[in-house]
Amino acid sequence: MKNILIILFLSFNLIYSQELDRTKKPSPQPTPKLSIPIPQRGELNNGLKIMLVEHHEMPVVQVQLVFQSGSSNDPSTKAGVAVLTAQMLDEGTKKRSALQISDDVEYLGSNLNISSSQDASFASLLTLKDELENSFEIFADVILNPTFPSTEWDRIKKSHLTSLLQRNDQPGQIASLVYSKVLFGDSHPYGKPTTGTEESVKQIEVADLVKFYNSFYSPNNATVIVVGDITLSEAKKLLNIYFGSWKKQEIAEPTFSTSPTIVENKIYLIDKPQAAQSEIRVGHMGVARSNPDYYAITVLNSLLGGQFSSRINMNLRESKGYTYGAGSSFSMRKEVGPFTVSGAFRSNVTDSSIIEIMTELKNVTMTNITDKELEQAKNSIIRSQPVDFETPQQIAGQLMNLILYNLPDDYYNTSIQNFENLTITDIRNAANKYIHPSKMNIVLVGDMSTVLTGLEKIGSVSILDNNGNKVNGNK
């Protein structure tokens, strides 16, 4: 058999060595039809909404419970409440201690995670099908019966304060936090770190967490996404058993204050002595996910800085060699989020890097976007759709967007046409409307003694500390 195979290959070899022209890039085969699954829907009597996609490739089930409230609902002086509430849910229930929860979950081979972002809170369970009900029972226990034990809270609070101290070791994290603070201001929820600050966390008591839990962890504020080796009737049965008696309640909406207006480019520097690189964030207000120009903005960002082959990375990494990688993003949330160019750049080319970034931003608003660029950006977005729907976790993540941003269930089947319809004019209009190269905040964490002189040639420089507060003696 083996010999036959070898002969076969030799014969292919002969055929192709005569015909093969390697300069010719192979054309694609016809595009196979990808039907993005439209979720099945259900709802419990208490208002808990269910979205389910069957996926039977592996004996695995992913459950994702999404609450429509996150750190935007933190009390104004207590940033960190939503995140710490999430952390405390698996630290003790009416039935289980913190150690028992962890022991039981690991023994079943399941993964349990509870977290919070600005806009939402999440509880996720990944389990083998064989252990679905056992895992689900623990999952429901931590969601419905947390006791917030004070001994565990003491430990979690101290540990969290220590992690905030460790955050100061990470120049990239400092750059991002200070960037948000400068952009949104002190009182806007998006201006505060979801994890809080030393000052805010010190003020948080267990009563704050209980209050947050009672206010927002309720069935009518939640959707449960189920993806994997399971049917809707199986899921409904489990959900009715474990979540059926969960009580609904009134939900408060967060309030968003207005943010500072940027009138000219401003530079904010946080000193990190001897840093090998400067962590840089450049940008301004972007858009909310509900923006009607969503499609044009997505394509615009793709060609500007959303990919490896985008303008910013090709210039600053591949052409100039200033960085290991740079890019841009519109962080689209329930409310207007930031537009940001980010990267880490060699200290002694910090000013040149900023100048190149600004040049790319000006160019994308002023000079032509080529047909080829537009096609490539559209292609990569449209064609990469199957990559985003491969595993149960990925599918659950895509469905989550539908819930958070109030998109129709067939959204992914209609969005492709909206991308295809875009013209160069649409992208140029989006660039002019949403990118303002002369009204940027420039935040960087780097070695002041190396970078300051160069920065002052670009604009006025404010010196800030790790928390984004002005350093004494500076403007």
Partner: protein, 443 residues
């Protein structure tokens, strides 16, 4: 992009390995290229994943960092693919693309919408067979700069970023090929000549030193024809010598420290163990999980949960091809001395040496390792990587079953035995302390 994997912790496990059957077909082209095909038509995606059996362990003293540098150069175009085209073509097709380097191997992959499989094969074949004609000094210099930026970002500007290279330097003599970091010495990269670099490529990136897995949605017959079309005329290279197993040992404890721009002190402990295929590897993996795996692990519970003198712990058996190590990292709370941490760690190790772990601990570890293996097989790319891993190091893509079986056989006595056999006094004890706080180092 171009990930550098420093900690490539290999975890394979499943208790009912019969349940898991990855069907594949393997054959070898006359030029030595190994081909493994695994069909999964559930999503119109296909992964092309090539492992070259070359990592930093194939480098020589004074000429380090080449394997990782090639991980960059292989994305810079080849004879029939323009300088910036490789990334661009894959992104235009809606694909994902990357590569990674460790001590033992380098991998390159694309995950493509399945209609672009032929283009992916053309791209991979072109850089396997026809890279050098397009390599210029300018491209080389540019990527050397990018690699230096990568080091700044991943090592110099990272808290505790130098720990792994310091520990490796203490564990291994200068001549041992695991002594130097995967990213290499920046001085070596600067001084490398074009000829040095070309020689390295000719030897190690030939089809006879590579294994290609295609995993996902494809037509079997058509794909075999394409593989033959694009790869079979690539010339076989000079035979590459087998990797020489060289399990290092320490004859005495090695204690050292460094100051870093960090707020918390950190203790790294490391022991020599056994190469990946050594019989004790699975028991060591379970030992690492029992010591540092979750909230109930011995060290987490004692240091982080009960005494609250540490912020975090991690531990793993790093079963590399030539020489394995067992490593633990413990980050202390502010102001806590690493001497105190070390004493508690020693007590916990002693307990496991004098008394077997419980059956519950053993089974909890096995269960989470088993499910972790299954969760890791949900994408065509991760399946391709697993098949290639077992093909490269075990010479059999299906050897995951043997690996799972050997893990399933581990008993509580085995765990106690490996704790006694390997976690002895001859170890590396490396402290990282905040600048100006040398007194916090483990004495």
């Amino acid at each position: 992009m171009n990930k550098l994997i420093l900690f490539f912790v290999v975890i394979f496990s499943i208790s009912k390995s019969d349940d898991l059957n990855l069907k594949y077909e393997k054959y070898t082209l006359p030029n030595g290229l190994q081909v493994i095909l695994h069909q999964d038509n559930s999503v119109p995606l296909v992964a092309v994943n090539i492992w070259y059996h070359v990592g930093s362990a194939r480098e020589k003293v004074g000429r380090t960092g080449f394997a990782h540098l090639f991980e960059h150069m292989l994305f810079q175009g080849s004879q029939n693919v323009g300088d910036d085209e490789h990334f661009r073509l894959v992104e235009d097709a809606g694909g994902d693309i990357n590569g990674s380097t460790n001590n033992d191997r380098t991998n390159y992959y694309e995950v493509m919408p399945s209609q672009f499989l032929e283009m992916a094969l053309w791209l991979e074949a072109d850089r396997m067979g026809f890279l050098l004609p397009s390599m210029t000094q300018a491209k080389l210099d540019n990527q050397r700069d990018v690699v230096k930026n990568e080091r700044r970002q991943r090592v110099d500007n990272q808290p505790y970023g130098r720990v792994m290279e310091k520990v490796s330097d203490l564990l291994y003599e200068k001549e041992h090929t695991y002594n130097w970091p995967v990213i290499g010495s920046m001085a070596d990269l600067s001084s490398a000549s074009m000829d040095d670099i070309k020689e390295f490529f000719k030897l190690y990136y030939a089809p006879n030193n590579a294994s290609m897995v295609i995993s996902g949605d494809f037509n079997l017959k058509q794909t075999k024809e394409w593989i033959s079309k694009y790869f079979s005329t690539i010339k076989k290279g000079v035979p590459v010598s087998d990797v020489v197993i060289n399990q290092a040992t320490l004859n005495s404890p090695k204690r050292d420290m460094m100051e870093d721009r960090v707020n918390l002190p950190m203790l790294a402990l490391a022991w020599h163990t056994t190469p990946l295929l050594g019989k004790d590897d699975p028991a060591l993996t379970i030992l690492s999980n029992i010591l540092a795996g979750g909230k109930n692990s011995r060290l987490y519970k004692t240091l982080v949960y009960d005494k609250q003198i540490a912020q975090s712990v991690s531990g793993f058996e790093y079963g590399r091809e030539i020489s394995g190590i067992f490593m633990m990292n413990i980050t202390a709370k502010p102001g806590v001395t690493l001497t105190e941490i070390e004493k508690v760690v020693n007590d916990e190790i002693s307990k496991l040496q004098s008394e077997k772990p419980t059956e519950r601990e053993l089974n909890r570890s096995k269960n989470s390792l088993k499910s972790g293996f299954i969760y890791g097989l949900q994408s065509v790319l991760s399946k391709a990587d697993q098949l290639n891993e077992y093909n490269t190091f075990w010479s059999n893509p299906g050897a995951y079953k043997d690996d799972l079986a050997r893990l399933e056989k581990v008993t509580t006595s085995d765990v106690q035995e490996v704790a006694k056999k390997y976690l002895g006094a001859n170890r590396v004890i490396f402290s990282v302390v905040p600048i100006g706080k040398k007194e916090l180092a483990a004495q």
